[in-house]
Symmetry: C3
Subunit: 206 residues, 3 copies
Amino acid sequence: MPDLDEILDAAPVIPVLVMDDARTALPVARALVAGGLPVLEVTLRTPAALAIIRAMREVPGAIVGAGTVLDPAMLDAAIDAGAQFAVSPGLTDSLARAAATAPIPLLPGVATASEVMRARDHGFSRLKFFPATASGGLPAVKAFASVFGGLRFCPTGGITQDNAPDWLAIPAVACIGGTWLVPPCDSPDPAAIEQRARAAAALKKD
Amino acid sequence: MPDLDEILDAAPVIPVLVMDDARTALPVARALVAGGLPVLEVTLRTPAALAIIRAMREVPGAIVGAGTVLDPAMLDAAIDAGAQFAVSPGLTDSLARAAATAPIPLLPGVATASEVMRARDHGFSRLKFFPATASGGLPAVKAFASVFGGLRFCPTGGITQDNAPDWLAIPAVACIGGTWLVPPCDSPDPAAIEQRARAAAALKKD
Amino acid sequence: MPDLDEILDAAPVIPVLVMDDARTALPVARALVAGGLPVLEVTLRTPAALAIIRAMREVPGAIVGAGTVLDPAMLDAAIDAGAQFAVSPGLTDSLARAAATAPIPLLPGVATASEVMRARDHGFSRLKFFPATASGGLPAVKAFASVFGGLRFCPTGGITQDNAPDWLAIPAVACIGGTWLVPPCDSPDPAAIEQRARAAAALKKD
């Protein structure tokens, strides 16, 4: 089972997927992996999400996680579906306690200094910064990085291929979450997805 | 007693009132109701607030709530004064527990994903987003709406008649809090208030 | 021992110091005090920080505190080193409980209304607003000031000599944290520091 640093270091971008149709799981995952993005975050926002996680686990080279994990029950469901990691937009005490004994790592979201401190108290040092652009943007994550040593961030939300380099230039930013790889409501076009993945995979982490 | 959805759906704008003089309660409330805004949030920021709530409850058609409810004691005081709902700029565990057994509904405020998750854990699915413009604005509430299904928001803070349509166009936004209807320190002019209320009531919820 | 209001009212700006070399403690502190900024916040971000606090306590007129106090253990270390006050970028329940029985006052950080309410429940009415520019800026602190009566704020993060007057013009802003007085990685030039301190000390608190 990969740990969080292996997951965050596998590629500069983690695609954040909101998908409705389990039949598209395999072609989408194969296109992303082929394009150089092996880490896949399947958000639990659709009825098909757990089936999509199960299907994507079959794709060689893919590291498949569950996103939008809001509470212990959703964490359990993600584990049952074979998720290799979990991501949450935030953190609650109940979710932190459930994660402490879970067999997969959790990347919890933070947006303020108090939230970073609470996550740190629960033992988390790898954090999603969400919603990245709306919650203070680059200056906020730079401020957190300067105050809190030893943390690594995965900013997500409102980041694009064009402004990704600004985020990846911050030393404390390990990688970013990308929502542009597979647009929601896209009838997925594997060739276009692989092309976008290739461009994202070519982003440099300084 | 109206429930939160009835309150949020009664008009596109809830006037947020900061008033010092109980003698102005009746003319202000009548002007707002006559203008098409029946839901009135009287903030507990002034010594006269509880008396103003009591007075406004006499106005036919008015649905009167207490705003700036910061703790269980203020919630109790609001209930005693006859408030039909309560609004808070945020949420604490102690206020959430008090609200769970209160006879009136609470609309708690949130500003981050973790705060939404905590509110959700406490059973709240109707949320104030505050301060709306300063806490990430439209992109933030859109991000929360895309991540958290089934929630309805009442953004408040920094919204004006002119930019209200941008907020009301977001499907997860049920209505907005309006601070411009009765300016603080205004010697209230009922005709001007009714005119502003009429313009606000004419805003379309898509 | 000065209380928080004496500390916040001693000067319009509290220099926030990130220093690596304890040998520079005395010249830097003397330059700041000579320039009119007696309150010094030494952040616990460097191995030398505690030694720097001890050294600076020797400077006549200096009021020396510890910044970046993240948990009860760091609060204890700050007290042991002679810190006269503590500052945190946020607040957790465990830090609040430790502060309640500590012999020095804590200035905790907040960034949202819920965080202000939690701090208030713990008895704090003097609050750092951090990161000030990235967490909503002037409109956010104005919104908090209008909602929460009786609070005093020390905004910190991203403020400069040039935009400091905008912050100090807000009645609820007692003073600001200044990171520009002693730039990190500066081989400290006491004359330049004293000059910057003099300009900062001349800022007017309306």
